[in-house]
Amino acid sequence: MSDKKTFKYTADREIYSAAKVRALEALLIEKGIISDKTVDKVLSFFETEMGPFNGAKIVARAWIDADFKKRLLKDATAAIAELKLPAGMAGAEGEHIKVAENTPKVHNVIICTLCSCYPWPTLGLPPYWFKDPTFRARMAREPRAVLKEFGVNIPADVEIKLWDSSAQIRWMVLPERPAGTEGMSEKQLAALLTPEAMMGVAKVAA
């Protein structure tokens, strides 16, 4: 079996992996499986079409439009489709999205204890912290302590809701709008958002 070889752990680990993936891509092109542009096109799609810039626009709209927020919390996929966002907002890994709203009494955190389920169309690809087994293990049981390590103090009287994405819904958080942003435009509000805030491991700072 090939797996004994493929999981070998070498001293020059990064250089070896880089050469191996380059070799794999070269062979896949030579064998007609992918084209010489396939990987670049996928990567550029995530840079410009599927990324956290979409989630930021969705949250900013929810902050300024209470009716939109209601629709977003009820049926996120339909509400997101109302906005002028790139094609694919119900595409791969975002076919069925739900949004959990933070309030002064409830703080939501999205996790995936089995793997790394993440809402690609609205937030792009998961950052390393989300995929880290230590995060997945600890956030499940001691969310307040992990959030504190991440610089987020959740008071003891605020309920933390953890959402483990083990089936077919992909989740994101609607963070609280920070104080002092009353005069900001929708675009300025969107610029305040981070993937971390939209997964519940950061607060939005004005």
Binding site: I29, I34, Y128, D132, R138, R141
Partner: protein
């Protein structure tokens, strides 16, 4: 028991590295792109929602490849290796192993080509061969845009309603499961019944693969880990397929 399924709640792990990057080396981007291409060219997309004309795409890739396949590989690893390797190292091992096992490439070819790129020095920029149809790229991007929805309509009612007390089954996971280990045998309350039904990429030994209702089930953390180890003011919600749930007496 597969350790990979049981990571929720592990003690004594120390601080989490708050690494906000998606890729920590350039090579990781390439294996990610290859995986997306495989998903977007997978032969099952001729019968998915939506249906793709995958037979018209000029690729030599004729296999079934999904998240379920990638995860089956990760769940089949030696668990101590699983925790030793970085996220995309596991992908590189699993995906390159798949292409060898399926006969698209040989291990000797891969080793020889790897050695060529290693001698080039600057491996990330080593030139790639030219070729391949733009129709391949178009299909892969179309897959990203239109997705592969697992949602189906079924006759019949969901077995459970909001407020029902349920116990989570402890079925042997076999090669692949979507049931987190820390919830097995635990009691919770249905907090939401998702409309419609959800299928899975392929049948699993523990019952996935036919369209069924999915639920959000709310657990008191103390019921999972005991009071001393739990956050008293938190709720643990898990999205679970119906086959994993039984009525609690």
């Amino acid at each position: 028991m597969k350790l990979q399924h049981y990571i929720g709640g592990i003690e004594n792990l120390g601080p989490v590295e708050f690494q906000k990057r998606v890729f920590v080396t350039p090579w990781e981007e390439r294996i990610f792109g290859i995986h997306v291409a495989m998903m977007g060219l997978s032969n099952h997309l001729s019968e998915s929602l939506p249906k793709y004309r995958i037979d018209k795409v000029p690729t030599t890739f004729k296999s079934f490849w999904t998240w379920g396949h990638l995860r089956t590989g990760a769940e089949g690893m030696n668990p101590f290796d699983y925790f030793k390797f970085r996220y995309y190292e596991k992908w590189l091992g699993g995906i390159s192993g798949f292409f060898v096992d399926e006969g698209y490439i040989t291990q000797e070819e891969l080793d020889a080509k790897t050695a060529e790129y290693l001698t080039d020095g600057n491996v990330d920029d080593g030139p790639l061969p030219k070729g391949g149809s733009s129709k391949i790229d178009k299909q892969v991007i179309q897959y990203l845009i239109e997705g592969d929805s697992p949602k189906r309509e079924i006759d019949g009612k969901p077995k459970f309603s909001v407020g029902d007390k349920v116990i989570i089954n402890d079925i042997p996971p076999d090669k692949h499961t979507r049931l987190p280990g820390h919830l097995r045998g635990k009691t919770g309350v249905v907090s939401e019944v998702y409309p419609g039904a959800y299928t899975y990429f392929f049948p699993t030994e523990d019952g996935l693969g036919t369209p069924m209702t999915c639920y959000a089930v709310a657990f008191k953390p103390a019921d999972i880990w005991g009071e001393a180890l739990s956050d008293p003011k938190s709720t643990f919600y898990a999205d679970l397929f119906e086959t994993y749930i039984a009525p609690a007496s």
